[in-house]
């Protein structure tokens, strides 16, 4: 078994010496992701629509909406309660606001009231931006109410300074303990991470899959040149050879994900070190799955061209239908097709980890499926694995 580790270490050195492999596996995804970020437009982050159902219609509600409308980059779109619920359900809207009936009256009578924010997942960049603006508008409206109340007291008894002091003190203390208006967030915790999170996860997974499956070429080349057969005349057993190649493949893909995820986390500030570690654990499982698919290709394909063709077609197919570029949260045959791709599970799990603050335990279904792919693939590859190009 020690020899398997030597073999794997040697393989990794060869991989690191192979500049075009490194460029393809690491530099290309970085470039691709950067281009897509630019293409998707970063100004989306500073523009947004407040999707609101105003069930109150009172003066304070109007005042808040007016302030929001006047803020830079935000427009207000009004819905009925049902329309808003439906739009959220269809994910046409990721963050919606509900101003409950009696909101204005309640605040004016001095009782607390809330605007309700309904978001899918984190609500995305746009949701966060609009929520911030709405909170600002509410705060401004709240100060105004306080001011008016104080002014009311002043108008009632201008001579009594002591009473005035007392009223202001009470009002400020009351506002501290019981703010007249607040925002209550109701996260629906459904899958709708930001588009960029999903794209990042999708591209990383796509390139891990490319690397894992294109590894088959090297193995077939070794079969053709005879180094595999030569290794079988050393003390290495067929099992050790297989284990060494598997370890090397997993090591290569984990290394690649370490660099890609590390860059993403560092540059985009995606999430903290704990999430990063969980992503790496997930990456090991994904690496095992893609490497075992690569070994199956190596066992089945006869030439390097066949292997490269299978690897590319398989990766492209699974990436397109597995939701790398478009989410697959619809129903119908596309959704069914997505279930047959490794990318769907791997991408969902990564997005869950760094887009939705879920933990590895939340991704257990995906982990089980990826693990099963790894184990089944390995068993099949081990059964069909040949050292020589001829039937031995």
């Amino acid at each position: 078994m020690v020899r398997s580790f030597h073999l794997a270490r040697f393989e990794l050195r060869r991989y690191l010496a192979h500049r075009s492999d490194l460029a393809f596996g690491i530099a290309l995804p970085v470039v691709l992701f950067s281009l897509m970020v630019v293409a998707l437009g970063s100004d989306a982050k500073f523009r947004g629509v407040m999707h609101v159902a105003d069930l109150d219609g009172g003066s304070l509600a109007n005042q808040v909406l007016e302030r929001v409308e006047n803020a830079d980059g935000v427009t207000v779109r009004r819905y009925t309660q049902d329309e808003l619920a439906d739009a959220l359900e269809r994910t046409a809207v990721s963050t919606g606001f509900v101003i409950p009936p009696g909101f204005s009256a309640s605040v004016e009578s001095g009782a607390p009231a809330s605007i309700v924010v309904k978001s899918r997942g984190s609500g995305g960049d746009e949701g966060r931006f609009v929520t911030g603006i709405v909170q600002g508008a509410l705060r401004a409206a709240a100060s105004e109410i306080e001011l008016r109340r104080v002014a009311g007291v002043l108008a009632g008894d201008p001579a009594n300074d002591a009473r005035l002091d007392e009223a202001v003190r009470q009002a400020l203390a009351g506002a501290r303990t019981r703010p007249p208006v607040t925002v209550v967030t109701e996260s629906m915790r459904l899958r709708e991470a930001s588009q960029l999170d999903r794209l990042l996860a999708g591209i990383v997974v796509m390139f891990l899959l490319f690397s894992g499956t294109l590894g088959a070429r090297a193995l077939i080349e070794e079969r053709r040149t005879g180094t595999l057969e030569r290794l079988m005349t050393t003390r290495l057993s067929a099992g050790e050879l297989f284990a060494g190649k598997l370890l090397a493949g997993i090591g290569r893909v984990v290394l690649q994900s370490f660099v890609l995820l590390g860059l993403a986390f560092a540059v985009l500030g995606t999430a903290g070190p704990v999430v990063f570690l969980q992503c790496l654990v997930l990456a090991i499982v994904v690496a095992a799955a893609v490497t075992s698919i690569g070994l199956v290709i190596a066992a089945v394909a006869r030439t390097e061209e066949q292997a490269a063709f299978s690897a590319v077609v398989l990766t492209m197919f699974m990436s397109v239908f597995g939701g790398t570029f478009l989410p697959t949260s619809g129903t119908g045959w596309l959704d069914v097709l997505a279930r047959f791709t490794l990318n769907k599970y791997a991408t969902d799990a990564f997005v869950g980890l760094f887009g939705e603050a879920a933990t590895l335990a939340d991704q257990s279904a995906e982990l089980v499926i990826l693990g099963a792919v790894a184990i089944l693939g390995l068993a099949a590859a081990r059964m069909m694995f040949r050292v020589s190009s001829s039937a031995v």
């Binding site: 020899r3 030597h6 180094t227 030569r230 003390r235």
Partner: protein, 248 residues
């Protein structure tokens, strides 16, 4: 003379066609044994069976007292194989190739590095050992290919057509290496389809044609079957034995 390798009734079929059929011969300790035959005679297939890579359909081989079928690992401890085609990693240096295969043959890291230096001297590449192999000439690449087979100090060395398509200088170097190895006590199985090479280098020769061994003996013994050993060539021996010319 002590027998080191004994092949008994070796047979291998590919898709129902016999590539090697009922081949039996012995190799004595410390001799250079040649397998001489045209392309397709079955030399490589024989070596693959002798070196535990290919399981024979019938027959067995005993190497240093161990069966290739039942005691493969014991056999692999004792042999070194230089395949007909380059079987190495051309993008790495000669030293890296040697050390890697040395480690796979069971040497420690330290042993492998020391042995690699000695082997490079043996094949005359000590000055360029750290260059990547793909920058070498064809002859130098072949010498690395042989060097890899020497890493585990084999008792029995298989050289499968080691001189095909290389320059005369490298060819002479390989001859010298083989003779030096025999002087050190290594037993060698050398396949070739060049009769002059077999004549010059080998102590005994097995003549192979269409998967069978048609004659075994010293070069002189083989020639005596045809005529005056001093004036007969192995080419004439082959023609006499098979009715065909050795040249392709």
């Amino acid at each position: 003379m002590e027998t080191y390798l004994e092949a008994e009734g070796l047979t291998k079929y590919f898709d129902g066609v016999a590539a090697v059929e009922d081949v039996s011969f012995v190799i004595r300790r410390k001799e250079i044994f040649g397998l001489l035959g045209p392309n397709g005679a079955g030399k490589t297939t024989t070596i693959r069976m002798l070196s535990t890579v290919l399981a024979p359909d019938a027959g067995d081989v005993c190497v240093g007292g161990h069966s290739v079928i039942r005691e493969g690992d014991e056999v692999r401890k004792r042999i070194g194989i230089c395949p007909q085609e380059l079987a190495l990693y051309p993008e790495l240096s000669a030293v890296d190739n040697l050390v890697f295969f040395g480690r796979m043959a069971g040497l420690s890291g330290h042993e492998a590095k020391a042995r690699a230096r000695a082997v490079l001297v043996g094949v005359g590449l000590e000055a360029r050992g750290s260059e990547v192999v793909k920058k070498y000439s064809g002859g130098m690449q072949r010498r690395v290919n042989i060097g890899i087979a020497l890493m585990n100090r084999p008792e029995l060395l298989f050289l499968d057509e080691p001189t095909v398509g290389i320059d005369p200088q490298s060819r002479n170097h390989i001859f010298e290496t083989v003779l030096a190895l025999r002087a050190e006590g290594t037993t060698v199985l050398y396949t070739t389809h060049y009769m002059e090479e077999a004549d010059r280098l080998c102590d005994r020769i097995g003549v192979m044609d269409r998967g069978r061994i048609v004659a075994v003996g010293t070069p002189a013994e083989l020639k005596r079957q045809v005529g005056d050993p001093d004036r007969t060539t192995l080419e004439e021996v082959f023609l006499h034995l098979t009715g065909r010319s050795l040249r392709d």
